[in-house]
Symmetry: C2
Subunit: 469 residues, 2 copies
Amino acid sequence: MLTPSLPRPLRVREEARTSARVALSAATTEGVQLRTRDIPSWLAGRGRANDFRVDRIPFAQLDGWAFDEATGNLGHRSGRFFTVEGLHVTEQDGPFGDGPHTEWHQPIIKQPEVGVLGILVKEFDGVPHFLMQAKMEPGNPNLLQLSPTVQATRSNYTKVHQGGDVKYIEYFVGPRRGRVIADVLQSEHGSWFYRKSNRNMVVEVTGDVPLLDDFCWLTLGQISELLHRDNTVNMDARTVLSCLPHPDTGAGALLSDVELFSWITEERSRHDVRAERVPLLDLPGWKRGESAIEHEDGLYFRVVAVAVQAGNREVTGWTQPLFEPVGLGVTAFLTRTFGGVPHVLVHARVEAGFLDTIELGPTVQYTPGNYAHFAPRDRPRFLDTVLHASTDRIRYETVHAEEGGRFLNAESRYLIIDADEADAPQDPPPGYAWATPAQLTSLVRHGHYLNVQARTLLACLNALAVTGR
Amino acid sequence: MLTPSLPRPLRVREEARTSARVALSAATTEGVQLRTRDIPSWLAGRGRANDFRVDRIPFAQLDGWAFDEATGNLGHRSGRFFTVEGLHVTEQDGPFGDGPHTEWHQPIIKQPEVGVLGILVKEFDGVPHFLMQAKMEPGNPNLLQLSPTVQATRSNYTKVHQGGDVKYIEYFVGPRRGRVIADVLQSEHGSWFYRKSNRNMVVEVTGDVPLLDDFCWLTLGQISELLHRDNTVNMDARTVLSCLPHPDTGAGALLSDVELFSWITEERSRHDVRAERVPLLDLPGWKRGESAIEHEDGLYFRVVAVAVQAGNREVTGWTQPLFEPVGLGVTAFLTRTFGGVPHVLVHARVEAGFLDTIELGPTVQYTPGNYAHFAPRDRPRFLDTVLHASTDRIRYETVHAEEGGRFLNAESRYLIIDADEADAPQDPPPGYAWATPAQLTSLVRHGHYLNVQARTLLACLNALAVTGR
């Protein structure tokens, strides 16, 4: 016989209280544990307390990783973690898409498992604090950055690599131990990953949480300050922070929500992109050496290998491949105010590894070196506007690195730049649309709308609103 | 020199006026053009006015279609329309997914182009009317059903098959001629299509619209009445109607929106489904005869071929393959009222052809015949509750067919059934959650949340709210 459940009161569908509390944390620039100005030295101290070393090695010195004889694909003997394979990308012209027809080959990372990027939240002195970790990743330019509470692939927390437990993972998987503030699958870099997504979670708890070494509780205001420092807040933290709810002032926008959805649907429909996985062996345009797979023109990125020694990781030493972009990227939103409401210019970007053709990216997301040889009229739209922006129009500029677990020194200048009608017209060219930060915040509750670079910029926009610089 | 755009007033992000006008149309049970009770005879008249005939043929009589010698895949010599290929589906167990490990092979339709399903709306006597078409599709049990204004693949409207123009297509592609009410890419049948989606659009215009043969303007109240008639409103119309905004009463729900998102994210993350396209030739478990490809146990569906003669189609005669399910399906929502608010029990369904692992489906979506030989405890959850529901608990029951352009006699009983704690507990088993129709209406503004069967039931739920039966 069934035991009937007791009737439960219904929930309010949208908790305005949650976004108000996020806003309170954002407005609080000092936390209970560390003074904001002491955080960089705390991070440096954690770096000294742990013994990290990363060395480049030839592929032959990879341990457990090998190129498959038949396909040339690079994988781990366990069949887990990830593989580096080839991708053949075709964008169709008519009748299937708007084209023009383009086609290329490239290496790509295939990592089918969904990881968890989670931040634990707890109230101290009435203000929500976020539990951040000082975490080493081999590809970070400075090795150690401020990371989410948990940053784990399924292989990590199911112990495929037989290392230590993932700290605090019990708050994010298994029976729910707190209140969910955000929980959404978001894409990662569509140019380097094949259909990768990670679960971005924010969970608030009320009970005691033991504080472990390498972790600290910070307010969102403190993290916002740190988002103005180069190479300090890692990509995983930035994408999770971008998913936080913020109070919606109810302001209007150039496009209503349904007009914005319609524009996205139109952009998604007019591109017909086919990405076929192919063997990495003899990939057209790419050559494999002893220590790198690189493009024959030296452009885009290289596949390389590193050996890692670390004291406080789940395992103490390992080797792995990394993708190393060639050159410093430039990633920027142009911003304008219409009718008193700030807007940013989003770009419907085709990236070969996206699950669903396009996602909204920044106005500009390029490595300028890849286009240096192009004639001005063939250079990417808005790139020169960003590169030549005068200082008084730069509202935000910080260097951030992409995920240090897969990418080596993948640094980009992230910028938010004031534009005018001459730079960026109210009626933008095809592929671009003006959206308000509030609209982006409502899109990012769902997956596959904002790419990871746009999510970093959304976190920076929100930080800028707080710090008011 | 650039001509600056004139400043434009901002839009309100959410137009409550639109959903109020949809509600007005839904409450209006007679229209300006046809009396509701005369619509079936109008439909029958359109059927008589057009000369339709569909005959089953052996594959050898297909014109322009052939099995590829190397792969056995069935395709058109133009390389367009669609192909029938093989799919090898694996659901992984740990550590990648919750499993259990399952694996099967099946034929699948691959049709990479995005079609348009569009309904034109125009106000008459102050009430929005929807322009519906009496359209023949070869797989419909009764050939002719009420369809959207436009139902066209890109091949259709770019004239790959060199037929007539697609009527009214100019309202849905090219420069916008009206106000968008809905525009979203939605999945189609994940069990029969490989990653297919169509653009579901509703566009309102104010100017003159010529009324062509086979078309009529109906209120949403009239269409709601027709949704209670077997095989009358086709699948394409149902899915577009499900995307309409409806007034949100602000009622609460058992799960807040973020809890519902979190449950969906959890379901999406815990399944690891890999679907690899494989040759149709010698597909394990399937056998190809002269007139059908069928499962060796006679279950699931058959691939067959038909010849079509039609007077009012874009082309006057053609042959094509169709998928023909074995047996009548049963598709149902169990519904309960919690705290005074109706909820339906959604099921996170894995279908091999989904772009993103799971979508929310009805509580029950099965062809009972495929499970008749199962022991009671192995039969699909909630199926027997639906099959044995007493008449007084059936709030809605109508037979609808799936898309007649690809599926032959794919009929299912669509049901909405009152449940109690014994049938369907407030705390449902894993894979199921209670959601309100308002929550589903907010999810369906985005793609890949509700599968096509759940969208049909959402349209029926909304019709039921109007007709109050």
